[in-house]
Symmetry: C2
Subunit: 224 residues, 2 copies
DNA sequence: TTTGAAGTAATTGTATTCATTAATCAAGAG
DNA sequence: CTCTTGATTAATGAATACAATTACTTCAAA
């Protein structure tokens, strides 16, 4: 599926439904009948179906064949799985970025880190989340790996969804956002071990996995 | 999309097309018109379309909206990306598997390793590839992370596709298959560093990335 | 010979209609 | 009172018909 300027109807429907879900206008567990959406858009069910398959693939809705589709629900375990996958992505992205990323690339990354810090100071949750997401997406882009970038994009949807559903406490926001700067600094210094360490801790904290895995579990230390 | 026993038509079509592509009955670059497939199955285009969207998402075909769909093509860079992603998956799977995998789990893994070795001795390429794929899929399963398992499944499709297109030399097959045993041994010993090291080397070799990245690049060594 | 434009064919995108499945509810038998 | 059975309803799944876009061909003009 290449093309960005295709004038097919399923794309705007997809975008709209994503937006509805991420803003909780469609709540987890809520059913999403094709006919209803079709009516809302004034189009047929055909493009709706296509959009919904994509949503299902993104993990934002569950489709029960011959029965119904509903906005996805998730539990703590699933959130942890998302976190684990993101750590895996970011760790690899960091390795690749250090190998063939330019300092200019890292400067762009730094911009998102700054934006994130500023949002934390302003106590602007939405802005902070957006910057955080852009930071990790940019990191994926710098990795030069299309698949990682695509995957990170999909993961970001899940993360936005989770954050929308769970009102995370923003107490330690500043520290979290500061972690981004430490990652960037390590990247510029081409210090893989340090970058991976900061990124991993940042994410472990973000996903509250502290109580599941021992400290340093994902940090690739030598001594066990 | 839950359910395995749904009697929808797109699923068998999807399976069939996957098979056609992996056996090169449909070659890279070859066009896949909806009407033609529909005629072959004696059904309408509707389920065909659905199957093809899924194929597109799996990276097995490219859909050019309003124009045509063709079996995907790929270059060395893309193959490397697949390899990098697989390394990322396997590394995380190993960490998680060591954390909450049972010895019984690792025994099952060993079975696939055995099967792989035997296939190498028998010089049975197809069997070896199947065992290799099952090995990595089982590892993903043991990780306990649904997302990683799903991703590994999708990655396996790409890998089968790549292997079908590129006739890899089976010279060092025995060594490669032996790597699986070393991974299993390390897992049983709960030696993460060693398991990751063997897995990474195995994959770097498998994807011929030796000439792109320095030795040990993905191995999480302490001293840079 | 090449180029461009018009008309035609081929293919995809969407709407509509029909078929099938499954959930709900009511009624009747045990 | 419970369980089964059948009708009703609401939803999805698939087929067909139609629309729109793109590719192809042909022919004429430079």
């Amino acid at each position: 599926m290449k093309s960005t300027n295709s004038s097919n109807l399923s794309e705007p429907v997809y975008e709209h439904l994503v937006n509805m879900i991420l803003t909780l206008q469609l709540k987890p567990g809520e059913r999403v009948p094709e006919a209803k959406i079709a009516k809302q858009f004034g189009i047929s069910r055909t493009p709706i179906r296509e959009a919904m398959r994509k949503l299902s693939n993104d993990g934002l809705i569950n489709i029960y064949p011959n029965r119904y589709a509903e906005v996805a629900t998730f539990d703590d375990t699933y959130v942890r799985h998302v976190g684990e996958l993101r750590i895996a992505m970011d760790q690899m992205a960091i390795k690749l970025a250090i190998h063939h990323g330019s300092n200019a690339d890292f400067m762009k990354l730094k911009q998102y880190a700054d934006e994130c810090s500023q949002a934390a100071i302003e106590d602007n949750q939405a802005k902070r989340i957006r910057a955080d997401i852009n930071f990790h997406l940019e990191l994926a882009r710098i990795s030069g790996n299309q698949l990682i970038e695509k995957l990170q994009r999909e993961l970001n949807l899940q993360i936005e969804f989770i954050l929308a559903c769970r009102f995370i406490n923003v107490d330690d926001t500043y520290m979290k956002s500061h972690a981004h700067h430490e990652i960037v600094d390590a990247l510029i210094a081409r210090d893989e071990e340090r970058a991976v360490r900061f990124a991993s801790r940042h994410l472990v904290e973000f996903y509250s996995m502290d109580d599941v895995y021992p400290i340093g579990f994902f940090e690739n230390r030598q001594g066990k």
